[in-house]
Amino acid sequence: MSSSSENQKSTVKLKVDNVAVDTTNKNRNIVYDTKDLNLWYSETHALRDINLSIYEKEVTAIIGPSGCGKSTYIKTLNRMVELVPGVRTTGTISYQSKNILDKSFKVEDLRTRVGMVFQKPNPFPKSIYDNIAYGPKIHGIRNKKILDEVVEKSLRGAYIWDEVKDRLNENAYGLSGGQQQRLCIARCLAVQPDVILMDEPTSALDPKSTLRIEELVQELKNDYSIIIVTHNMQQAARISDRTAFFLDGKVVEYDNTNNIFTNPSDTRTEDYISGRFG
């Protein structure tokens, strides 16, 4: 166990080193292109003139103190923010060159392509199998054999297969918190999304489970673009390729994670990451 986590650390380091090289040649495609995004909750101006490009198959971390709008921003990316009554937005977010904030954009299609993992694990009160099969089923896949395959593949993808393969028909709430969160990630994978949004996915978990999720994120970025909101700056430094620092609804700085943590260009960023506030 300990040797494997050590290995993991060294690979993480390697990856962080790679990033600097990676971004100089700027070959990666943009997944989300946010232009002049403003958002209000009734009277509260929660996001101000956000301009942010998120790249494919990278881990993008969003950090900032409580109430800075980082969760709001990530929820705007799959329009879950609309569940709050009285939300208004201006500006555009292009996803595959279409503006997702346009009312004619079908939100169900967007959310099928963009999975989300929440702060608290929220499996359905169903069996482990039914939790994973839920997504494919609502999108019309009924073939039992295909579903079996998808369930196994997704659970393997989230590195939880070995722990649950003998109890697929048991209620998901019998799992530990960390297992539940990995199950929720597997649930996302089942519909083969392009992007996975993670809203503080480890804040309700113990350190060991947190480590496993972080390892998983590292694996997943080979196939998915991941945007992760986190309270934990060390976590952002460990697992992300790029980091955006939010403050009072604005993007203060957005750069390679390496640069942000070693050589921030804004003093507010420096103050935040060195723990002077937030």
Binding site: M80, L110, G115, F118, P123, F124, P125, I138
Partner: protein
């Protein structure tokens, strides 16, 4: 000893305590000595509360015992087999016959009609209130719906007899002046708020995180409601249905007024039928001399009714435990 301690305390607190020179510590110590009575009281409380709690249990046992002993008397005169399989009920005839099936049939028919109205409408109202209605609408609509539950059943009965039946007869002239359809429908309307309100409670208590999980998978609101919220609330929804059925089985006034008292054994809902409850009203309201067979038949019917509701409750428990999705 105690006093000395208190004085020390006061001295250290200095000026602050000088003005209101109340020695709380001493007062508490004095009160503690008087405590002997309240100590006994404290010890007696569990016993007292137990006796109070057991009153309803004892009452139930008493009622059941009465029913059973009197029913046993009835079954000495009318064989139990004849009672439960007889399709003819003629208690006042020269050669009286006591078959309970017409009454059971009437009860089941009226209950089915009522639940066909109350089940779908109640559940859909609950879905609307819990998943779709805005806060404003819910705040107005829910109390209004619950007003329906406050209407006395005699009013419903009258409504069935003087409004619904003529309405049905104006559309389908073949319907009898007293029939089981009209009270069944009205009973359904009466039960709607019960099912709507209890189901809505069950659905509202499903955590929002589950809805979000489903919506974030690209499910529509309706899919989320049907595949996540309703299954998660199913035990509560089933409980509300079973309570509705129990209510329909036990309902008396509406059927007594609007369904008449003919003891037909038929499945034709346009005809008059009698339910178990209505039979009890008719016989106990008429002249049933104590000790006569017809008098004892009341108890036999009441016992049957009791067993019906008991079975419903046990069934509800079993089903709701079986379908519970734990979270």
């Amino acid at each position: 000893m105690l006093r000395k301690g208190c004085h020390n305390k006061m001295a250290t607190n200095g000026d602050l305590n000088k003005k209101n020179a109340v020695d709380i510590g001493e007062m508490i110590a004095r009160n503690k000595q008087k405590k002997s009575f309240s100590n006994y009281f404290e010890k007696a409380i569990p016993t007292i509360l137990f006796i109070i709690a057991i009153i309803s249990v004892l009452t139930t046992i008493g009622i059941v015992l009465t029913l059973i002993t009197e029913a046993v008397e009835f079954f000495k005169r009318v064989p139990i087999w004849d009672f439960f399989t007889g399709t003819i009920l003629k208690p006042l005839s020269q050669n009286p016959e006591f078959g309970v099936l017409p009454l059971i049939n009437g009860t089941i028919m009226s209950t089915i009609i009522a639940m066909l109205v109350a089940g779908p409408i109640g559940l859909m109202s609950a879905i609307y209130l819990s998943e779709y209605a805005s806060d404003k609408v819910r705040r107005v609509l829910k109390p209004l719906l619950e007003v329906l539950a406050g209407i006395p059943t005699i009013v419903y009965g009258f409504f069935a007899f003087t409004f619904v039946t003529p309405l049905i007869r104006s559309i389908f002239p073949g319907v009898d002046a007293t029939n089981i359809l009209s009270p069944g429908l009205v009973m359904g309307v009466m039960i709607i708020p019960m099912i709507a309100s209890l189901s809505e409670d069950a659905m509202t208590s499903v955590p929002n995180a589950m809805r979000e999980g489903s919506l974030a998978m690209g499910a529509t609101k309706l899919e989320t409601t049907i595949k996540v919220v309703i299954p998660a609330a199913l035990s509560g929804i089933i409980a509300s249905f079973v309570l509705g059925i129990s209510r329909a089985i036990g309902e008396t006034m509406i059927v007594t007024i609007a369904s008449g008292s003919s003891k037909n054994f038929t499945f034709d809902i346009t005809q008059s039928m009698q339910t178990m409850t209505a039979y009890i009203v008719e016989v106990s309201g008429g002249d049933a001399p104590a000790g006569s067979t017809i008098y004892y038949s009341l108890y036999a019917v009441a016992l049957t009714l009791f067993v019906f509701t008991l079975i419903m409750n046990l069934l509800a428990r079993y089903v709701s435990r079986k379908f519970r999705e734990e979270y």
